[in-house]
Each structure stands twice: as structure tokens, then as C-alpha cells.
Amino acid sequence: MSQRRTAATTAAIEVHDLTVSYGAKPVLWDVDVLIPAGQIVAIVGPNGAGKSTLLKAIVGLVRPLTGWIKVFDAPFEQRRAWVAYVPQRESVDWDFPTDALDVVMMGLYGQIGWFRRPSREHRQRALQCLEQLGIAHLAQRQISQLSGGQQQRVFLARALAQNPKLYLLDEPFAGVDAATEDTIFRILRQLRDQGRTVVVVHHDLQTVADRFDYVVLLNLRLIAAGPVEEAFTAENLQRTYGGRLTALAYAAETLLRRDVARESQR
């Protein structure tokens, strides 16, 4: 607890007035949140609350209807090199013909740049990252032969290889064994202590209180955000998981059903 930084001065992510919809289905409604730098941040909320969508909006994978997002005080496009995004494990085809080391090297592609090939040093870097996660011995293994926990470690190693200031992890603990979860948290804490920011979409409420510094409670709109001690309260949880949002949800759907306009203009 003592290591936790108090009231970070800079915001890692600034989300302003963000509204996102998939087709006619509203996913995020006018979300306004500051995520401070140098902390381990949990994004918590029920299924379909827009947690993953928030991450995707940050890295420009979904276009917002309204609002803007800044990463370290600039649009994401200018901060790409500072951000590592770790998608959900199921989002890729693990039958792809490649090995663990190669996946980790993918984390360096952005830095290597177009047309150029990875060098020996890049391989070395990737290997080190695998080592940090304790799976260097699996470097040459075909990715389809890795267990779920190992696949998740490979994904985190790929993010480490990017050496970013901000980590965005989408459900990294889904379908992962306890040992992997411990390892990952250990590394996340190291990263935090080096001044990096870690944002995790999380679904296990049990572990929020002792493993995260800061929490963002989300259910379609922002319910609460703040240091865990302040924001992770029974009242806020009640509002997140059981709160009365019917009017808003109904309004949101009405709006977006009729207002397909801007969506299809994009």
C-alpha cells in the first residue's frame, strides 16, 4: 500500500464526453473520465457495460459518435508508441502458424517500421520479455500448443516488448490459471513501480481491492472513478451492477435507433 503513488499529477488517459454505439445498440454513454498515470487501474462493470469498448475506443478501434480521447495529453495517433494494447485472448486465431517468440516480436513491429525486418537485437529483446514471464523455454513452441495461461503470458510479453508507458489489457485473467494470474500481477506491479500506467478490464470483484490502485466503475455510463479506497464502495457497486438506468438505457436506444445518421456517415 505504501508504494502507491498519491494523486498523480498527469493524466494518462483523458476521456471526454465519449458516446459509442455498435449499430443501434449504445455501448458507452457520455463517459467522462481521467485515468491517472503511474497506477494500476481496474475497469469494472457488468457484462456489456462497455468496458472493452472503452479500451477499443482509446486505441481507435471503434469510432465514437461523440467525444474525444487524449492519451498523455495528445490524440492516440501521436502516442501510439507509448501504448501497448493487449486484446482478449479469444480475439485471435491460435492455429496461426507461428511460435511464441514470433508473437512477442510483433510487439516491436511498430518500432521497427514499415518494410524493415527484425534484427538480432529485436529477437534478444523478445526473448527477455518471455523470460520475465517465466516462459522463455516455450519460445520456439507453436502457439496452438500453449495453454490458456501461457497464451496470455505471451500476449503480455508482447506488450512488454513494446516498452510502452501505458498498458491496456482486455480481460487478461479470463480463463487463466491462478499461477499465471499471480505472475501477471507481479509484473504489473513492477511496471507500476517503474512509473508505467496499467489499465485492466477486470471482472473479478474479489481481487480489485487489494490488487488495484484505482478503479473505474462503468455501466453504459461512468458510475464512479477514483482511488480504490474511495470509489470501490458498496454503494457504487450497487449503482454499477443494480442501479436504476432504465430511463437512460431506453433513451439511449431510442436516440441511436433513430440516429443512425452519423454512424453511417463515417
Binding site: D17, L248, D259
Partner: protein, 426 residues
């Protein structure tokens, strides 16, 4: 003489209509199983069977050729399933492989037949390109029987098939023979395609199983209706295509049917009332116009409210300043509102009519009520309210309005301290 021509035409018409309707029925299930292109592989895989049957039987007897075609088509379907089961290869690769390898072996057999002097293979090839113009009464009878079989089977197993396609795992736990249903669907698809090959040809048969279902899917979300519509659209394209080719001889029946089907598909994608491209565009346009009108009404209302006189004439310059509209935009919006009797044009500006005032009130009520809702119920800071309400004022319907009023206890002022008017106010 004329009677004979009419009879032939009638044959072709009836046959094409039936065939396309049946193909659309089985195709709908393939489409919903996300296996739209399975028919492509099945149709190509008929070739080796046709050749084999000819080599074995020694003549072009129809039942033998059909049986051979069906046999290899089903073998190809089995190979496709086997590849998916036995390897990490995906759907598309498995289909591409079964399609090309079976068709390739068919070509090998075809050239063997030529080389071994089995006589001409021309008849066999026409099996693949189809010649609907030569449809005989016996063909039509056969198609009627086929249509009956397919319709009866699909009707009998309708709900089981629906469940097996939608959620195979649940269906299995409920004790439905999902695998058998899968085989049934594949057999029906193969049967219809093989039966239609000689009439419509490979690619055109594939089209008959994909295009009408894809078109029908645009109009409804209910399986039963999609099925009926697909059959209908298939039948219509079959009939129209056959008729067109009867009228102008260079239009071959098969391709003509597909072209008609494609047009129906385009029409569906463009014009379907809910999902259609055109409908989306119209809705978008309608919303845009509504928003412009609502904004102008509210702007006028605000100016009048400030002056304490709702019958005041508001100058164009004031209105232009409020939203940075160009004079042209303002003129267009004002013109629409004038023609609806909500505004009156005065020499030095615009004035709200009585109806206009009521319309403006509607917008203002919704705007301010929504601001109150956001501020009271969602604790949003006051600088966030306006932009959101700006959008919501156009879409809050009466039900939601009552709901909001009730929830908020019929407030009379908004968070900025302005009065929320009542609908009957003047």
C-alpha cells in the same frame, strides 16, 4: 403449332419456378448455417460422379447420372467435414480444397472418357452448363416430386432444424440428433443442386441457393417468413428469367434467372424497410431535417422568451448568429417550417405562429427536462448538460417524457434556473 410453343414455354416456366423456389428453401438453411458456399463445392463435386456413372453404366441414362452426381457431391461434403474435423484448417480452405480436387478429378475422368472412345462427352458437359430450354414434361414432374419431398421434410423438421442451426449444443443436450439433422440438410442441398444442374448449370445453381435467401433475409428476422420469402423470390426470379429467355432467344434461361435474382437482391439490399441502404439514408436525412427544424424553433423560442413576447418578430441576423448558419441554410429551414404553418415570414424577420409556439415548446420542454434528468439522476456537471440535451430533445417520445416527468417529480425549472414550459402554455 402455337399450342406446342405455349406448352414448351409452360414447361420451362413451371420447371424453373419450382426449381428456384426449392433451391431457395434449402439455400436459406445453408445461409443461416454460415455455409452459403457449401453449395458451390457440392455443385462442382457432381462432375466426377456424372463421369463415373457414365463409365459404369455406359449410357447417359438420367437416373444413373443423377445418382452418381449425388454420390460424389455427398462424398465431397463428407470430405469437407472430415477436413474440418481432422485438421486445424478453416471452413474456406476446406471448401476450396473439396471443390477443386473433386472438380479436377472430374475433368480427369472427362478426358479419360474422351480418350477411351466412350463416344462424345458433350452430353455430360451440358449437364454442368445446363439447358433449361429443353425441359421436358417428365422433368417438371420430377421437380414437382422433389419440391414436395423437400417441403414435407423441411415442414416436418422445421423447429428441430431451427434449433439445431441456432444452438447445436443446446439441441444436443435436449436430445435432438443434431448430426442427423446436419446430414439431412446437406443431403437436401446436394439433392436439389444435383437435380438442378442439368437445367441451370453449376454456377447458376449455386446462385439459386444463395441469392434469393440472401435477398429474403433483408426483409425479415423470422425464419419462417425468410423461408417463404426466399421461396417466393426464387420462384419469381425463375419465372421471370424463363419468360425473358423465351421472349428474346439470346438470353439463356439459367443466366437470365440469376440476373433477375441479382436484381431482386439489389432491390432488397437497397429498399428493405428496416435494414436497407435506402431506408437508412432516408432515416438519416429525415433526422437531419428534423434536427435543423427543431433547432430553429428552439432558437426562436429562446429569443422570444428573453424578450417576454412570443409574438415577437425575430430578425434574420439574430438567428444567423445563434448557430453560425449560412443565410441559405436558414432560408431553407425557415421555408420548410413556413410551409408547415409553424412560422410566418415578416418583412424584417420570422415569427412563430400559435402552432409554431406549441411545437417550439415541445422541443424546449424536452431539452430542459433532459438536462434536469442528467443533472439530478446522473449527477453530471452542469457544463455537460447542454450538448447531450441538444441531441435528446429530438428523440424523446411522449412515453419517455411522461416517465421522465414522473421520475423527476414534475419539475418547473431546469438546472440553469430557466422555466420548463407546460405544453398548454401560450
Amino acid at each position: 403449332m402455337y399450342g406446342f410453343i405455349d406448352f414448351t414455354l409452360l414447361n420451362v416456366l413451371a420447371g424453373s419456378t419450382l426449381l428456384c423456389a426449392v433451391a431457395a428453401l434449402v439455400g436459406t438453411f445453408a445461409l443461416l448455417r454460415r455455409e452459403a458456399l457449401l453449395g458451390d463445392a457440392l455443385a462442382h463435386a457432381a462432375l466426377p460422379g456424372i463421369c463415373l456413372a457414365y463409365m459404369i453404366v455406359g449410357d447417359k441414362s438420367l437416373p444413373a447420372l443423377l445418382a452418381g452426381a449425388l454420390a460424389t457431391a455427398l462424398t465431397a461434403a463428407a470430405c469437407h467435414r472430415f477436413i474440418l474435423w481432422a485438421s486445424p484448417l478453416k471452413e474456406d480452405a476446406a471448401l476450396g480444397i473439396s471443390l477443386s480436387v473433386f472438380y479436377g478429378s472430374g475433368i480427369v475422368l472427362l478426358t479419360k472418357i474422351q480418350g477411351l472412345g466412350f463416344g462424345t462427352q458433350a452430353g455430360l458437359k451440358s449437364f454442368l452448363f445446363g439447358s433449361a430450354a429443353t425441359m421436358l414434361p417428365s422433368d417438371v414432374k420430377f421437380l414437382v416430386a422433389l419440391a414436395l419431398v423437400v417441403a414435407v421434410l423441411l415442414g416436418l423438421f422445421f423447429k428441430e432444424l431451427k434449433l439445431a442451426i441456432f444452438d447445436p449444443e443446446f439441441a444436443t443436450t435436449q436430445g435432438y440428433p443434431v448430426r442427423m439433422l446436419d446430414v439431412l440438410l446437406t443431403m437436401l442441398l446436394a439433392g436439389v443442386i444435383v437435380a438442378g444442374l442439368r437445367i441451370a448449370g453449376v454456377v447458376l445453381m449455386v446462385a439459386a441457393t444463395i441469392v434469393p435467401p440472401a435477398a429474403a433475409r433483408q426483409w425479415s428476422d423470422r425464419l419462417g417468413i425468410v423461408l417463404l420469402l426466399a421461396a417466393l423470390l426464387g420462384g419469381v426470379s425463375g419465372a421471370l428469367g424463363a419468360y425473358a429467355s423465351a421472349v428474346s432467344p439470346w438470353l439463356k434461361t439459367g443466366p437470365a434467372i440469376v440476373v433477375v435474382g441479382s436484381m431482386l437482391f439489389l432491390l432488397s439490399v437497397l429498399c428493405s424497410p428496416r435494414r436497407g441502404v435506402l431506408a437508412r439514408w432516408l432515416r438519416e436525412r429525415h433526422t437531419r431535417l428534423r434536427i435543423e427544424e427543431d433547432h430553429l424553433l428552439r432558437d426562436l423560442y429562446l429569443v422570444c422568451e428573453e424578450r417576454g413576447d412570443f409574438a415577437a418578430v425575430v430578425g434574420f441576423v439574430d438567428l444567423l448568429g445563434m448557430r453560425g448558419l449560412t443565410p441559405g441554410q436558414l432560408r431553407r429551414v425557415a421555408h420548410r417550417l413556413i410551409s408547415r404553418g409553424l412560422l410566418r415570414s415578416e418583412p424584417d424577420g420570422l415569427r412563430l405562429t400559435d402552432r409554431g409556439i406549441r411545437a417550439a415548446q415541445r422541443v424546449v420542454i424536452r431539452h430542459r427536462l433532459w438536462e434536469t434528468f442528467l443533472s439530478k439522476q446522473l449527477n453530471l456537471p452542469s457544463d455537460h448538460l447542454h450538448r447531450d440535451a441538444e441531441e435528446m430533445e429530438h428523440v424523446i417520445d411522449d412515453a419517455l417524457l411522461r416517465d421522465l416527468q414522473e421520475q423527476l417529480g414534475y419539475p418547473t425549472t431546469d438546472p440553469h434556473g430557466r422555466r420548463i414550459p407546460k405544453e398548454t402554455d401560450q
